[in-house]
Symmetry: C3
């Protein structure tokens, strides 16, 4: 099993190299990641390539049998690039280029940047073509992170016009798709289409969706440029990887496209970061891990695992003793099969002084060091359990087109895509039912239950796939607003096919604000709450599960079930409270004969083929059957 | 009576035209508004005018005897204009032009845009010169809405200098008026005067007031350009109208100037819109209607009446059953005499997908359809009652100079001009006393009571008019800060004439923050509350009604009355709570022998010459005498 | 004693001059400040110098024996400068120049502005070289106020590069100091270093600290330019002064550098201003006065003392009767020896209409007038008491490098440098112990106690000075995070020298968010609270005073004491509640035999060599021994 640390030897004086490597070995690591961010060290001036520094580092690493993951250094370009080719820098929506000094500042659509990229990556790969210590190449670093998915520069304007031309061929097709007849926005030529910088009121929602698709394609094309070079040089046994960041749903970037080109998907797992008083809730972390696993529907790597408090200018929550270790175990339980900690030692200089590594500036072996050591030991002991594939009967489906559609039109001030997604996911998580989190474009035929939150765009092909899935015996759970829109981000006209399939019509709807709640109940007294939104449902052939209770609307259903042949569809007319969601998930699992297990809040149980992994996410001692689990403790029970 | 819908046939396929028109007729409509926003359809390329599309539409409408209100399409220019003449686009205060894609993006002071406007409007008017179906021409659409009153582009800078030169002739007169000796800002030439883009601290308040006047003149001049063309072509019986938006007090735009050039004032009545959890309170809606009626002191049209939830990216409150219909009745009760709903059917594409029309994307005849149908029937039955003029004994006076003066210097974080205005208005509204809401520049001699909220600028001529009004027996009610400033937005120096007239001196004042309240009481125990601001009043000859109760300030009066000959003035030293305001309004009405009627909260009664209209603004059943009024029900009682 | 008003005769008609001067004399004043902001009046067009206006004013003042403080007028340049030399205007971080119309708009690094400055100041000084009425020259006005410390224009970019080149000589030394190897930011040349405009993530903290130093040097160099001219012309008995604003800790401007070049430090004392519902707490005001006194470690002048409510567009709290007078007394008690009120009369025009002066626009002698009159009488009577130097045994030390370091990395959302500073200061203030507030770079050897809040940068030389101070018997009180960083704003690597000196190691730390509190207690039951931050302390040789009480961390100390030879160090691991801080201050004072006096909250007692000054900061009657002190009353008790 690949176990290791992110190591930046260039940050430290040369005389520390040997000792550091010895200590990394002592810790139990067998791999280090190096090189990303070190472009200047490899090309001090344009065209002057020099890899001698890393040659020396690799020699030293190999002496101790450490393997290497090497990163291409394009996430941060040298200062001379900024000076010489200022046009490569991305621009914000006011048209101001970012100042040199941060990271991820380049424009993916800059021809000059792509040219410089090709040169450095080609030189790097060809230099290390024969290096056996390198087991994997990581391209760039956290593409699209921190707002770097967006750029409004002239390169991007031109690129957007080309993207549209390629997609629509004829500008009148674009006009028709966007409905530009509205507000008289009809375009006579592609180069009249604006990039969506600030305007009065808002931009056309179809334009905004295409813009997001273009942004996503820009990133994926840029990534492909590098991947192609790596593939040209790398040996078969070497993997090409890329490390994805959390917060993916907030970006205009469909990582499924990238994943298809990678050998292994890697993830940077930070359950808490700068400025947060509390970590993400366990269900949320679990969801992100399931999402990463879902990108290729196979186990994944983590190349940056948090070990300590994080933050650039404001530091976040301090993980409690063993809590960071617990998060590592949770990641393994959910499909990680190789794990490196970020980072061997915190840097005393630069913008990430307060992103803790394993060692701190005192260079002493501390509690974090001991947690990592213990974790590595656990992994070596339990390796076999984690190499099994993960099989889930439930899939929670997402769709980036939908994500971007909601970004353009959130419709309620209370709407938050990720929160909504976690809410539906959590119904199953809290029953300790393993779920996959996958793109709706992937095959979902073999699941027993599929969950489709925030799916306002449903085209006929998807609807038919879901219908077929249900007819064969599956259960599909749709959230509110499902299927009101087509792939152009426009409302369907006429009878709504999805609603018809669900045996309902939605006569009215209401956007609920940040502090609004409405109440629902079943015919036999069970009560629940709805926030964010509510569809007012009339059933044609569906069965009512919950109805509204407030004046004027008690005649409308809030949650319904529609049986179609062997299966059924649940339609949720609003954002349900956790209990009601869990109750529905439980009902669905029961029907589908999926085993559920309700444990004390904070206790998570992940079932793998040969073991159960028990995780205590709380600071209290909890019990599972007769077993006591200490705060933040993890227990692996062989089965 | 003109009853109808806003219809955008160009948004839909041609084969729907006939059916739509049939259904519009079936609904009970006799008129449609068309054409605004359709510039591109009329001039696909510069100079290529083509009205054939609307020719066909009008033929179809005439077949069913539908009348037409036709809008000039200048609110949204074609994309080719943006590409060819980018200088016509307005700039925000950072100097960035708005991106094409929204609406109302042009600069009123662009010579090129005015030239393009003259061409399209002239072509349109001359083309339809003989068209009998057209009963009115609407110029542009919601001029000044959504921040389009402001522009900081070079055209505007130049225009501002010309405006100032015309006003002051000699720059030293400007210097004197502004007091530019302060901070050594004396201008040697008009072209040294800045447009008020961001600076350190704040701009000169006289400059800011002149800037607002210039912005207002820019809009009104642009409107006049179009009105003159329409008047040149239109037949006598045709009306020239323009549709005003709500939120008028937030804009640098005095609509009285425009109203003088229109045949009829039209209004777009949206009591709730995107992002609001609740609609405006009934008194607020009533105030806007009275304001619209006051612009020409005569009945008005509504060319966009809300029927359903609204919102661009975030949707607002869903009107309860019959509530939107109630708002239509309220509008009629308060002087509307022609009403069109926005819009026949919601568009499935473009930025206003979530602005509901009568029909939704399912194209079915729904509850909203039935509300409109019922409303049209009511109107046909009751038409005679609504054609009577409205007579009010009370006028609430506003002044755009004052509005803009407060914008430049709100003085308290809690100050909101519209809220303050509604507060004083509501004193009378809640007594079911009809009020006019008119510009202070209009004649107010025939009223019995005038109310002057937020009137910090009072020049000597106004003061004398008020004094004469009072001497003859009128009651004038002034809010805090009244008359401290002259027309240059400067404080008066020396003895304050208004305070002298009121028999008071104001020795101190205090700005109250957002969460501050102070208490007041009469000599015989009645208590009240003051927020936002307080003047500390010493009386010379006025009578104290309320005094402060807190430490140090109990010697100061908060509300006083000054009798002058046959009438009197009330001076309110702060922003009063609703009860106290109502009590004072009641007192004034009693004195002036104006009938008052206190009803249950939420019940509104409007008296017209031949009928009383009762409106239940609540979701409860309310009673008026023996009559039960259902939630959101309206009852017309003939008298 | 210099007692007076700020007088702007140019704001008023010439026929008011004589009467104004008479009334100023009648008020008890002997001095006026004039001239700052009047550049246009002195140079209407470039090179046309004309001082005749002020010649006349001075003649009139001299007739009544009034002395003059004359201000150079460079804080606001004439409009013709903006028009002719637009490049002199400072730019915000988006690269937009400020609009003409505010104040302090120029760039300190503009060669053209420096040239224009030299001309006007030289002309002014040479013109009044022989003028005996002038007792002091004030250069400019509130340098660096209101964000005018920052500018991102090309002049500043160039200046920054020169500053860096001068400091580092070799760009590789800069690279090493900044750790630019991180994120591959190594610079090949100084002109590659960015000015810190917005970027993705954050800038290098060493760069940010150097940028602040550069901003500070820019202001101080500009000030020196003027001071040198004044010194060239002024007579020996004339003083060169400059008026500093409050809020100094929020600016990139070390006023100690300026103070060294001034004869007397002057201050503009505004305990409340626009938009504030409450004034600063008395301890905060006291701290600013002690800070001003500390700049030259000698008594100071106030050339703008508040008398009335203030505000540009939003007005703040109205001082209660006698409260503004109380603040004047507080200033005198804490080292002011000359005081002028801002301003004789509020201007009726321009941006400061709502900054009250002594007289208001009614020009009547009001309560404020009487407060000033009474204050001047008090001062004349008690003059001798206030001319004594102030001696403190306690010094609270600040360091602008540290201030700017925290600005770059506040580390907690709850961190506020000034609040933290006041908190530690207040421990002693609430015991009525006189403290100096001085730069850590000043000598502190003669104090008994030194307090070092928010001192994350401590270099070895400072550490050794503190150690020596303690060994000799002093007590040093360090706040959390002390000494983790070096002068380059980088974390120390390896064993921490300051912690070692304190007999502790800090194994962990936690950033506490805005609503987080943790609890601490002593071994014998005393309880306290910590907010903002906590260091988890292990003692090696220190004594534990307080420990944490929450789960996982009760083994860690929160507050410790380390005895070193004759003295000791307190290390505070977090931001303590006021009571705990006072308790520790009391303990330290007891040990150092410093007399403490706990009075009712709101009562302040300042001890001067010949008198005690008692100040009641509350609106209640308070008692000191047998003496009753009315609300906002001040009593001077001779001793």
């Amino acid at each position: 099993m690949i176990l290791g640390v992110d190591y930046y030897p260039e940050h430290w004086s040369e005389d520390m190299l040997e000792e550091d490597i010895d200590r990394i070995c002592k810790l139990g690591a067998n791999t280090v990641r190096i090189g990303e961010f070190a472009w200047h060290l490899m090309e001090k001036n344009e065209g002057e390539f020099d890899f001698s520094y890393f040659d020396k580092v690799i020699v030293a690493l190999k002496k101790k049998n450490l393997k290497v993951i090497f990163g291409t250094p394009t996430a941060t370009f040298p200062a001379w690039v900024a000076k010489k080719y200022s046009g490569i820098i991305a621009e914000n929506e006011s048209g101001n280029p970012h100042a040199f000094g941060g990271r991820r500042l380049y424009c993916y659509n800059s021809e000059k940047y792509r040219e410089l990229t090709v040169k450095i990556v080609t030189q790097l790969l060809s230099h290390y073509e024969k290096e056996e210590a390198i087991i994997a190449w990581q391209i760039d670093n956290e593409l699209g992170h921190e707002g770097s998915d967006q750029c409004y520069c002239p390169n991007c304007e031109k690129g957007f016009h080309m993207f549209l031309k390629k997609k629509y061929q004829d500008v009148d097709d674009l006009n028709k798709a966007y409905g530009t007849i509205f507000w008289g926005q009809t375009y006579n030529a592609f180069d009249e289409v604006p990039v969506p910088k600030p305007t009065i009121t808002s931009h056309n929602p179809s334009l905004l969706l295409d813009w997001a698709r273009f942004r996503s394609a820009s990133i994926n094309d840029y990534a492909k440029l590098q991947i192609d070079i790596v593939n040209k040089f790398k040996r078969d046994e070497q993997k090409v990887i890329h490390n994805l960041f959390g917060g993916f749903f907030d970006r205009a970037y469909d990582q499924n496209v990238l994943a298809d080109h990678l050998d292994v998907v890697a993830y940077d797992n930070y359950p808490v970061w700068g400025g947060l008083e509390k970590p993400l809730q366990p269900a949320h972390i679990a969801m992100t891990l399931d999402y990463i696993r879902g990108l290729k529907k196979s186990n994944f790597w983590i190349v940056e695992e948090l070990m300590g408090a994080q933050g650039h200018t404001v530091i976040g929550y301090l993980p409690r003793p063993n809590q960071a270790k617990l998060w590592s175990h949770q990641a393994m339980a959910r499909g990680c099969e190789a794990l490196l900690y970020f980072r061997w030692r915190g840097m005393t200089k630069g913008a990430e002084q307060f992103c803790q590594g394993i060692l701190d500036s005192d260079n002493l072996e501390n509690e974090k060091y001991r947690e990592v050591e213990a974790f590595f030991e656990d992994m070596k002991r339990d390796e076999a359990h984690y190499q099994t594939p993960i099989k889930a009967d439930v899939a929670v489906l997402y769709d980036y087109d939908n994500r971007w559609s909601w970004s353009a039109q959130p419709q309620s001030h209370a709407f938050d895509f990720t929160e909504e997604f976690v809410k539906l996911y959590k119904g199953f998580y809290s029953l300790n039912v393993m779920t996959d989190v996958i793109s709706v474009n992937k095959d979902f035929d073999d699941y027993k239950i599929i969950v489709l939150p925030a799916m306002q765009i449903v085209d006929e092909s998807l609807r038919l796939k879901v219908e077929a899935f249900v007819k064969k015996g599956g259960i599909a759970i749709f959230g509110y607003r499902s299927g009101i829109k087509d792939k152009e981000n426009n409302l369907y006209f006429g009878e709504n096919a999805l609603q018809k399939m669900c045996g309902i019509t939605i006569e009215k709807y209401e956007s609920l604000g940040k502090n609004q709640v409405v109440f629902i109940e079943t015919g036999h007294g069970e009560k629940g709450e709805i926030t964010v939104w509510r569809d007012m449902i009339k059933t044609t052939s569906a069965r009512v599960l919950f109805s509204y209770t407030d004046k004027f609307y008690s005649e409308y259903a809030a949650v319904v079930e529609k049986v179609i042949e062997k299966g059924s569809i649940y339609y949720l007319g609003g954002s349900l409270d956790d209990n009601t969601m869990k109750m529905l998930a439980s009902k669905a699992c029961q029907k589908q004969e999926i085993e559920v297990l309700e444990l004390t809040e904070g206790l998570e149980l992940v079932s793998r083929s040969s073991a159960k992994i028990l995780l205590n996410h709380t600071e209290a001692v909890l019990k599972y059957r007769e077993i006591e689990i200490a705060p933040y403790e993890v227990k692996l029970i062989e089965i």
